[in-house]
């Protein structure tokens, strides 16, 4: 199974200045491509997918978005933890007509179908740990933020 090394320090970001999800995709997508994690299919497919099937989850205390796209856009698997400067409206997975106020985005890139289920389970398990989520919000620098992300409990229930 993939290990914590797929949470990439070079892909972690805090204070990302974006006013909607497509801007987040543009900014982070450019970084993913430049560093060799995704190919040219990534940006159009992630935007199209999010538009059709939004990915914000109403976890407590704050919603978290988990945008992801098909394996053929991914060169190297990754989890990119991103904290936005300001909360933005992000489509609710359970009801695409509604939106949630999101500041935490975990961008996911999986190369093969099987590995992602365990990773998603681990992420979901951690999203339910309110203390860990609060620490993500409180982290002052990108380094601190990345350390908190790496502190994730690498197992699921």
């Amino acid at each position: 199974m993939l290990g914590k090394e797929i949470i990439a320090r070079e892909l972690a970001a805090v204070d990302l200045d974006a006013s909607n999800c497509n801007e987040v995709f543009d900014l982070m997508g450019a970084r993913f491509k430049r560093l060799g994690y995704v190919n040219e299919k990534y940006l159009p497919t992630i935007k199209a997918r999010e538009a059709e099937y939004p990915t914000a989850l109403l976890v407590e205390p704050h919603p978290i978005a988990i945008p992801h796209t098909e394996a053929d856009a991914i060169i190297k698997p990754f989890i990119a933890p991103v904290r936005l400067k300001e909360p933005i409206a992000w489509g609710d997975m359970s009801d695409p007509s509604k939106s949630l106020e999101v500041r935490l985005v975990f961008m996911l890139g999986f190369k093969e179908a099987k590995s992602h289920i365990e990773l998603l389970q681990i992420l979901i398990h951690n999203f339910q740990q309110q203390r860990w989520v609060s620490r993500l919000y409180e982290a002052k620098t990108a380094d601190d933020f990345y350390q908190v992300a790496m502190d994730m409990d690498w197992r699921h229930d």
Binding site: R49, E52, Y53, L57, L58, V59, E60, H68, E70, M93, S94, D95, P96, S97, F110, A113, H116, I117, L120, Q121, I124, F127, Q128
Partner: protein, 94 residues
């Protein structure tokens, strides 16, 4: 009684629906129910519904299906997951 057939669907039928399917299957097993829980993509869902006993819904779609439907988001957020698993189990018990 035949094995319960439960469906779960999301955009791709690969990511969140598989996670929820696997979670539902495990939680039902904990409750003594051995069910087939399959993940499909939303676009194909209507073709499988005729054969299914229940549907665990993640995304609110335009269609309402004529089979018992449960809240799949509970298994993603953790909020109300046990209560929802109890409800599904109750459909197949006895």
């Amino acid at each position: 009684m035949a094995r319960p057939k439960i469906l779960c669907a999301c955009g791709s039928g690969v990511a969140t629906s598989q996670l929820v399917a696997s979670k539902v299957k495990r939680m039902l097993k904990d409750r003594g129910i051995d069910a087939d829980v399959d993940a499909v993509d939303l676009k194909s869902l209507r073709h499988y519904v005729a054969e299914a006993d229940a549907y665990v819904s993640i995304v609110k779609g335009e269609e309402d299906f004529d089979i018992p439907t449960y809240n799949g988001i509970a298994f993603l957020t953790g909020v109300g997951a046990d209560a929802e698993a109890d409800k599904i189990a109750a459909q197949f018990k006895g």
